[in-house]
């Protein structure tokens, strides 16, 4: 459930590091609320201020060039909104005013012990979705296509799956406090779109690289114990997820995957610390956490011309990165067994 206040010191630090994104989102909400108030004021007095409205719509270039009163006369009276549309606009305005004036913290979420991380994030985003739903309802009302039976849901909560592309780019950052035992980040993948940013402030000992499986070419992924490092994710134009440890531990990987750093995984991934990968008994299936660690190591290592390294047989990576085509050629040679000896 979303919390009312930032409870932990690290969560506050994380939020501080994400402050640019937070301010940007609040600015969007305030602007939307102001725009709607202006629109409502004009709607109420539309016939008195038609010239003024025309001037604003034509923009500064028209000043001294177009007579706005005459332009408005040319277009005639705009049709009034229907009672249903007016009602929708008023409800939407109330929602936006409430969000803009509320002290409620939209950015912090706490996963109760034993709770579901995915559900917590989903719930927080759904609540924020009210802002987007209200904005959409206004647009539909203005266009004359708002039908209460079909569109009233927009004036409630709007789940993330119904957010459009622009809304996903405007998404506010979320700081989620979660116990290590409840850290199951795989379910977050569906939310990592647009510019959604999620910071997981974790308490306790986690698996070494739980976020490794969320690495995709266009997703910013970070594991760190330094809250200040999160500012880099805040500035990224990509969706992102970060894990903020409560302390640096040898058994936990610290790394950054920044989509802007290159076109190959090993260029995009910067590893600050990688735990030793323990051996597991022959024939036993690797535990998930070991697979995640191996996955991270594989992605972060430059390819080697050594077929053995490609095939995962433990050879050291080559000192110099090589072209993917060379890597493929090396692998093919290893499969055809044409090598000497």
């Amino acid at each position: 459930m979303p919390s009312e206040t930032v409870s932990g010191g690290r969560a506050a630090q994380a939020l501080e590091a994400m402050s640019a994104s937070v301010e940007s989102f609040h600015s969007v909400v305030a602007t939307a609320e102001e725009e709607l108030r202006t629109y409502s004021a004009h709607r109420r007095g539309v016939s008195e201020f038609r010239g003024e409205q025309a001037l604003m719509e034509l923009g500064p270039f028209s000043v001294g060039r177009i007579d706005p009163e005459k332009f408005a006369d040319l277009l005639g009276e705009a049709d009034a909104l229907s009672p249903e549309a007016i009602h929708a606009v008023e409800r939407a305005e109330a929602i936006l005013v409430a969000f803009a004036g509320s002290d409620k913290d939209l950015h912090c979420v706490t996963v109760v012990r034993g709770g579901d991380l995915r559900d917590a994030v989903k719930g927080a985003l759904t609540e924020v979705g009210q802002i987007f739903g209200a904005s959409r309802a206004v647009e539909m009302a203005r266009a004359g296509i708002y039908r209460p039976d079909e569109h009233n849901h927009l004036l409630g909560s709007l789940p993330f799956r119904q957010w459009n592309r622009a809304e996903r780019h405007l998404a506010p950052p979320l700081v989620v406090e979660v116990e290590a035992d409840d850290l199951v980040p795989a379910g977050l993948g569906e939310f990592l779109d647009g510019e959604v940013k999620v910071v997981l402030v974790v308490s306790g000992i986690t698996a070494p690289a739980p976020l490794a499986r969320l690495i995709t070419p266009g997703t910013f992924v970070m594991q760190t114990a330094d809250p200040a490092a999160l500012a880099r994710m805040a500035a990224s134009p990509h969706p992102g997820v970060a894990l903020l440890f409560d302390e640096e531990r040898d058994g936990q990987a610290r790394f950054t995957h920044d989509p802007d750093q290159g076109d190959t995984p090993w260029k995009r991934i910067t590893v600050e610390h990688l735990p030793e990968q323990p051996m597991v008994g022959r024939g036993r299936r690797d535990p998930t956490w070991l697979e995640e660690l191996a996955h991270l190591k594989t992605l972060a290592a430059p390819p080697s011309v050594s077929a053995g390294a490609v095939a995962g047989e433990g050879a050291e990576p080559a000192a110099e990165p090589v072209e993917p085509a060379d890597r493929l050629a090396a692998w093919l040679l290893s499969q055809t067994d044409l090598g000497e000896g």
């Binding site: 602007t31 102001e34 725009e35 202006t38 629109y39 409205q53 604003m56 719509e57 034509l58 923009g59 500064p60 270039f61 028209s62 001294g64 060039r65 177009i66 007579d67 005459k70 332009f71 040319l74 277009l75 005639g76 049709d79 229907s82 647009e139 539909m140 203005r142 266009a143 004359g144 296509i145 459009n164 592309r165 622009a166 780019h169 134009p237 802007d260």
Partner: protein, 633 residues
Amino acid sequence: MKLPTVGEAAPSGREVRTHRVHDHSVEIVSDSGEGAQKCGQIFGSVSAKMGNGVWTVEIIPAEVEPPPRNPAGASGIRIRLGDAEVTNWGDETNLVVAFNEQALLGRHRLNALAPDATILVESMWATHPDPSIRAQWEAAMEELADRSYRIIEVPMEEECLTVVDNPRKGKNMFVLGLLSWIFDRDLERAREQIAHAFRKKSEEIYERNVQLLERGYGWAEEHLDFRVEVATQASDLPMVVMNGNEAVALGAVAAGLELAAMYPITPATSVSHMLGEVFEKYGGLVHQAEDEIAAAGVAIGSSYAGRCSFTITSGPGLALKTEFLGLAVMAEIPLVVVDVQRGGPSTGLPTKVEQSDLLAAMFGQPGDAPKVIIAPATIEECFHVMTTARRIAEALRTVVFVLSDANLATGVAPFPRPDLSAEWQAGPPDQRPIPEGLKPYSWDSRTGISRRFIPGQPGGEHTLTGLAHDEGSKVAYDSVINERSSAMRSRKIAAFQSTLLPPEVNGDPEGGDLLVVGWGSTKGAIEEAVERARSEGLSVSSLHLTFISPLPPGLKEIFQRFGKVMTVEINYSDKKDDPFITEENRRRGQLAWLLRAATLVDVDCWTRVLGEPLRPGKIVNAIRESIRSGGDA
């Protein structure tokens, strides 16, 4: 061979003279790909942010990568700085930084340099191992000796090699350092601007460029004996610095346009580059179509579907879009067309400025295809025009042309940060059910305007057609119907013209000997020329048109207050004393054609197609000549 310095003595000693001037023009010229333009853009931005008036013009060769060390292939940028607002590129360059003497020679041969210009030139060519290059250097120096230039050798390559392995990728930042010392630019601002320019590059590249900047600054401090002071004046208003294409792109975002469909074409392409970076974030979409025709089709389709769309092009692309633009006019689909004009006809001069497309925009379609044509005159107007264009296109259900040009497209100038308004983003189109009896072209007989139908709107079902049609969009077999629909499409433009205000006269509105009329990007040069001519006592004023279709009211009455009226344009016209040219067969500047037809006033013209912006000094000469000769320019 040591360079024979021409003019004043070569710099020596450490006595530094500072020249205080109101206005100074700098050129950086190189082979293509050496980054002279990036250097100039950063220098211009830093200067603007420090409070100088700035206007930059890029010098772009006709070929993408011409042979190196070629006078015809000079690539670079001119930056004009002033202690007040600068509105054009000026006349001649006072200070040149040349990466090789051949690029310098190209500019010299175009008379781009002031006779007493100071030249900083890369010294390595004088002692190059290749004897043919040394011979070229010597020949160039001999040719340059015709003027009183002051030439100073700078070991750019040698200095850059202390920082980078490939000086070709570093000289520009070294030169930025030279200029920063000469003009006393704030190095911290320069570093910030470098960081911005290389924001997509690694930290290492940024650091290296800063090292080069500092190296250039240090070299200048140690070796040069002159500085130039153009007083800065910090603005009370927050300012932004951008070029015209960036301004069009950001203006489109601010105007709430939703789709840009384009096909790459010089010099318009960078509009879509800018949009590509920011448009999606604001809910817009850039669509690069398979060709110019398809781009127009996508924009028209999107607008028909209820979005607000625009297409971006230049002369040859405009030619290809001709048929589709006719469809937009005939079907009354709102559309904004941004045409960044270049030299024509055909592929013409892709990288050079020309006000080439006015008549093509106006009359490009068969039959009568009335549209609105707007020509922004400044980079700031390139931003704001998009809101106005969108609103007119949607209100009148018509095609609105925005005629920019290569001068505005690549020129960089500061202007007050726009105070954005949500009202610029007009509300969504009315999609309520269509009242019974209302048809897709139920024209208001007085204004010619009809309600826009959106596909899917209950009660609005109709067949869209480019054939002549009646109010219900049914193909018209009755010739009377074609007459009426043509009249309605034309009447919209007349009705809109009734909302336009008469243009202001710059100078003496009461009248005088000569009225100079311009349009588009020439405003700054014309008004500077008129001011100079008036200071000489000449009775001349100017008038600048931004709405060209329809023309604003009152022009004939204004023209009649002046002894003569002459357009100044960057397009072709026959000169009166050319062979075979008579009053009847003389082909005039494009605006002159229109004004003569619209006002029946004997409007003369002075035009040039040199592939460069007009110089105020040349316009002053034309004004003098026009007044002296009784109208013959």
